[in-house]
């Protein structure tokens, strides 16, 4: 393994990864609470259980890189450095929201962070990521583009078209498949003739790697390897992260399609529990440090929520704002 992709197993680094995962977990717990309180409406898709993927991958990205995400993107947005208050305000539909209340939970955007959205069409973000990478290539820019998608997207034509185009043109795209075994309620083996998703990449001559998506260190190491290959001009890379969604698909899901025992088995491999347990067992961190992280995260969430709740409603007179540039022409 080269120097560039060697994992950093220092205590400070691992505590940083833990902190990011805890931020996502607790932020979304707050979101679920606000959903119950009917302050957040529409669809709300929680990332609960999958945090190691966003944290492990995005830690390896640079500011000049671009990200395209899915409708389950709160975690991706927070790790990318979007203001938690702006994300929360968006969930509440406030004008202070990062998308001025036009997007909601599924459409978090921040161009300054090169975070090109939550895309709520499964597979719909992949062609955008290819185009972002194409622009970078044509502009001789330094960045890569990373797109997140689930196992469900692998069944979409846009997945295959995008994988082929990126490989054909050798574009710097990191395809991150968050394989949580279910496309909403349809299990992978009920949707795919071949459940080994790496084979899809191989069919386009694209290098691929499968990592344990519940282990943030493994995700980070895999992402580092994939991104190093892309940055060295090797073209696109397919990174499959095997993970699991602990909670329902959305807030309207009775979870009739899976057994409670299956969920419990995966919960035992919770990425936060795994890392914090390992840190303590190995003596790299003590309970007090972890409690301090949790307390700091809780106050960040409290402040972000208070700021978002204090936000204003966009005037209805501005309804047609931003349909077109510089006006509201119909």
């Amino acid at each position: 393994m080269s120097e560039a992709v060697k994992p950093h197993l220092s205590s400070a680094h691992l505590l940083g990864l833990l902190r990011q995962m805890v931020r996502i977990r607790r932020f979304e717990a707050k979101c679920a609470e606000l959903y119950q309180a009917e302050k957040i409406r529409g669809f709300l898709h929680l990332y609960d259980g999958e945090e190691a993927v966003a944290v492990g991958v995005e830690g390896q990205l640079r500011p000049e890189d671009s990200i395209v995400s899915t409708y389950r993107e709160h975690g991706h947005a927070l790790v990318r450095g979007l203001s938690m208050a702006a994300v929360m305000a968006e969930m509440l539909g406030k004008r202070e929201g990062c998308s001025r209340g036009r997007g909601g939970s599924m459409h978090i955007f921040d161009v300054a962070a090169r975070f090109y959205g939550g895309n709520a069409i499964v597979g719909g973000g992949l062609p955008l990521a290819v185009g972002l990478a194409l622009a970078t290539r044509m502009q001789r820019g330094p960045g890569i583009s990373a797109c997140f998608f689930g196992d469900g997207a692998v069944a979409e034509g846009e997945f295959h078209e995008s994988m082929n185009l990126a490989a054909l043109w050798g574009l710097p795209v990191l395809f991150v498949c968050e394989n949580n075994l279910y496309a909403m309620g349809t299990a992978l083996d009920r949707a795919q003739a071949c459940t080994d998703l790496r084979g899809r990449a191989e069919s386009y001559g694209m290098p691929a790697l499968t990592v344990d998506g519940m282990n943030v260190v493994a995700v980070e190491a895999g992402a580092a390897r994939a991104i190093a290959a892309i940055r060295s001009g090797g073209g696109p890379f397919f990174l499959e992260c095997r993970t699991y969604r602990f909670r329902a698909h959305s807030m309207f899901d009775a979870q009739l399609y899976r057994e409670r025992s299956e969920v419990e088995a995966w919960r035992a491999r919770c990425p936060i529990r795994l890392l914090s347990g390992w840190l303590q067992d190995s003596g790299m961190a003590h309970a007090g440090q972890i409690a301090a992280i949790e307390a700091a995260v809780d106050s960040e969430i409290a402040e972000a929520t208070a700021a978002a709740e204090a936000g204003e409603w966009e005037p209805v007179g501005d309804l047609a704002r931003d349909v077109y540039a510089g006006g509201d022409r119909q």
Partner: protein, 329 residues
């Protein structure tokens, strides 16, 4: 350009592309067979040799991916021109056009602009049957966030593309297949009327014939025939299908007090329906007759020449509709 100083619609489009590619490094052309083949309607013939494969990009038959890639590249500061062979094929990219290009600016609270131009052929008349001949402009014109243009003249073919590329929003450019070989004098000047304006192509006082794209020539032919019968028809070329230049339409119809809309789309849910509604809303008290429509027959466009022609709006039907509106049966 031909020896007699004429230029075809196809050549005018190619000149527009060449000018845009020369003037702005951010512009590139991408689509199926735009490079080595020279474009399925030969619009981009020769451009690969002139600008190279980086900027004249042949793509796989992956409409969703390459249209989406054009959108992504536009977001990141490029000015892509994406060619889709026909409007029928564009349905394979409908997700990208409707769910991404049209929504991103609004859905991101104004952060993400998509300055992409998507060109596609539309319309019937070449006996290509039901999967290559439809006129689905109205589907795109339905969608807020898109701008939809239909150049019907040589000057518009020459200059609309440049204007579309200067526009910060996604623009769809419809090129009617029967216009590619049309020819006319080389346009002078450095531009066309603003792209969101309808233009009166023939002045008249008795009835307004409202057309666009492939139906403009038919409306003009009908106007000529009507003139022989003493009816002075005005012909209005929509040019922009979204936004619609309601002011120009209403001004014309308030003067002529009668209107016939000529549209190659199917009548149900058509642009003609929209225009008819707007004329009713804005000029009801000035109308002397119901607004008439001459549209495609409600069938998938058939192959056999006589059937295909029977399915399309024809000048004779426009003349008949105009005479009916005049009460001169």
């Amino acid at each position: 350009m031909t020896a007699d100083g004429q230029i075809t619609y196809r050549e005018a489009l190619r000149e527009a592309l060449r000018e845009a590619l020369s003037a702005d490094d951010r512009v590139f052309l991408m689509g199926e067979d735009v490079g080595r083949y020279g474009g399925c309607y030969a619009v981009s013939k020769g451009l690969l040799a002139e600008f190279g494969p980086e900027r004249i990009r042949d793509t796989p038959l992956s409409e969703s991916a390459f249209v989406g890639a054009g959108i992504g590249a536009a977001i990141a500061g490029m000015r892509p021109v994406v060619e889709v062979m026909t409007v029928n094929f564009s349905l394979l990219a409908l997700d990208q056009i409707v769910n991404n290009a049209a929504t991103l600016r609004h859905m991101s609270g104004g952060q993400v602009g998509v300055p992409v131009v998507i060109r596609m052929a539309t319309g019937a008349g070449r006996q290509l049957a039901a999967q290559h001949s439809h006129s689905l402009e109205a589907w795109y014109a339905h969608v807020p966030g898109l701008k939809v243009l239909a150049p019907a003249t040589i000057p518009d073919a020459r200059f609309m593309l440049g204007a579309a590329l200067r526009d910060p929003d996604p623009v769809i450019l419809f090129e009617h297949v029967m216009l590619y070989n049309a020819s006319g004098p080389v346009p002078d000047g450095a531009g066309c009327e603003p792209i969101d304006r309808a233009v009166v192509r023939r002045a008249g006082r008795d009835v307004s014939l409202i057309a666009y794209g492939g139906t403009l020539a038919k409306a003009l032919e009908a106007a000529e025939a009507l003139a022989g019968d003493g009816i002075a028809a005005e012909v209005v070329d929509l040019r922009s299908l979204r936004p619609l230049d309601e002011a120009t339409l209403l001004e014309s119809v308030r003067r002529t007090r009668r209107a016939v809309v000529v549209d190659e789309g199917w009548r149900s849910g058509s642009l003609a329906a929209e225009i008819s509604a707007r004329l009713m809303e804005g000029a009801f008290w000035q109308l002397d007759a119901p607004v008439a429509r001459v549209c495609a027959a409600e069938v998938p466009i058939p192959y056999a020449r006589h059937l295909e022609q029977a399915a399309l709006p024809q000048p004779a039907a426009v003349v008949a509709a105009a005479k009916a509106a005049m009460g001169a049966r």
